[in-house]
């Protein structure tokens, strides 16, 4: 039995296979719609995240399985003071696999130490969210054919955005050697991560503060939200938020086959007028998240393409 707590729990080969299987599930959904017949996913959301929960629930249902769980800790027994370990032990009798989201960092690791079911981390605080990374990878594969060999740029809050940290690290593991980082000085990629990328993977990082300077050179533009709470004053925030906003106007200089990704939800960092541009793939990205989660559930339950012969 295995767990998925962080992307490093999967080898590059395993990630490649998940992406392949996920794409096949997307192209041929009927082949897979019964492979989890009789299986139950416990979806334990100690912190609300509608999008992630629905994505997992939908993935399990599209495989023919069932879902039990809660969407918010106030409706669970933890609100009565039950420890995480006890909740997880009890679940062992009710389900076949667990996905959990928890506000405390390290909670899924703790759960995995007491679980007799495979555990998928659906996000723990600002720590890890491995299925978001898988979602990003399958999206890149679908639209750019290979995961490697593209000029990838990250834009916005690169300091606190765990989605960005996780994807950059994973792309570096895949052998990507260059990243463009677009952010205000206040929200640059943390120096510890930069050091790791440079020392461990020999990556080249190009840091700029303006999107216009680099937009014509980008194959994949990964946008993130800039949160108001990160700034000391409203004025700075308002000033910065607009310079890291993607508009139709800025897209004019971009390559015709560039893709724009975003983990969603967006606030205003991508103008609505960008949605109709064929380069905008963030809604398809959310869609692909369901399929790569289907592949992951199959892998962890050892069913369908992952059945042991």
């Amino acid at each position: 039995m295995r767990h998925l707590i962080e992307p490093e729990d999967l080898t590059i080969d395993e990630i490649n296979r998940l992406v392949e299987v996920g794409l096949d599930m997307y192209n041929n959904p009927k082949v897979y719609n019964k492979i989890c017949d009789g299986k139950i996913l416990a979806s334990l959301f100690f912190e609300p995240s509608t999008r992630t929960k629905f994505s997992f629930d939908s993935a399990m249902m599209r495989l023919g399985g069932n879902v039990i769980g809660f969407a918010d800790a106030s409706t669970s027994s933890t609100s009565k003071g039950e420890s995480l370990a006890d909740t997880i032990k009890v679940m062992g009798a009710y389900a076949d696999i667990i996905v959990m989201r928890h506000p405390k960092e390290g909670a899924p690791k703790l759960a995995s130490q007491y679980s007799r079911l495979p555990i998928i981390n659906g996000g723990d605080g600002g720590h890890q969210h491995p299925t978001q990374t898988l979602t990003d990878l399958i999206t890149i594969k679908r639209f750019k054919e290979t995961v490697n060999g593209h000029n990838v740029a990250f834009c916005g809050d690169l300091k606190y955005g765990r989605t960005v940290h996780s994807l950059i690290r994973t792309l570096a593991r895949f052998g990507n050697t260059k990243f463009i980082l677009i952010s205000p000085d206040e929200l640059k990629l943390p120096s510890a991560l930069k050091r790791q990328l440079i020392n461990q993977y020999g990556v080249e990082l190009v840091e700029v503060t303006s999107m216009e300077d680099v937009i014509d050179d980008i194959d994949i533009l990964y946008m993130t939200r800039i949160q108001k709470e990160r700034f000391f004053n409203e004025e700075d925030y308002l000033k910065l938020k607009n310079s890291y906003k993607l508009t139709r106007e800025k897209l004019k200089n971009a390559k015709p086959d560039m893709i724009v990704m975003h983990p969603l939800p967006r606030v205003n960092e991508i103008g609505y007028d960008v949605d109709d541009d064929k380069r905008a793939v963030y809604f398809e990205q959310a869609e692909m998240g369901v399929y790569v989660r289907m592949a992951l559930i199959s892998m962890m339950l050892e069913v369908g393409p992952y059945a042991r012969s």
Binding site: S83, L84, A85, H102, P103, K104, E105, G106, A107, K109, L110, Q113, Y114, D124, G125, G126, H127, A192
Partner: protein, 142 residues
């Protein structure tokens, strides 16, 4: 020089960097019922000045905690007035308990099942330990 008699049974924690004796006492022995002597600023050939702690009828001491406070510490175990064992502290490569994770969002602060566990990442001037749960680095200053 101030005279303190030796102990018959117990341990002597020696070569504590001057000023850190109280820290050792607070971390390890503040709750003991046994007799304890804390000597501070004792003249030492090796260190110039050092602190020493002597505790009667105690033989167990957490060497990891001593190691993070000061890796030069030595521990003499005395039984019936005889030195039976001499231990040398060292910076622990891993730590269970003994440190609190610096990350306020870490599960170890709110769940009794999660005992903080750390892996030594760097001992370059300061000790950096990585939490096994949240993977944040906690720095213990030498």
């Amino acid at each position: 020089m101030l005279e303190v008699k030796g102990i018959e049974n117990g341990i002597v924690i020696d070569h504590i960097q001057a000023g850190k004796g109280l820290k050792v006492f607070n971390r390890l022995f503040s709750a003991t019922d046994n007799s304890v002597v804390l000597l501070m600023n004792v003249t030492s050939k090796q260190l110039g000045r050092k602190d020493i702690i002597k505790i009667e009828n105690t033989f167990d001491v957490n060497m990891d905690i001593l190691g993070i406070i000061d890796p030069n510490i030595t521990v003499n175990i005395i039984k019936n007035n005889k030195l039976v064992e001499k231990l040398k502290a060292e910076i622990p490569k891993s730590l269970k308990g003994g440190l609190q994770c610096q990350n306020p969002r870490c599960i170890t602060h709110t769940d009794d099942y999660a005992e903080p566990e750390f892996k030594l990442i760097s001992a370059n001037g300061k000790l950096e330990y990585e939490c096994s749960y949240c993977e944040e680095i906690t720095v213990y200053k030498l």
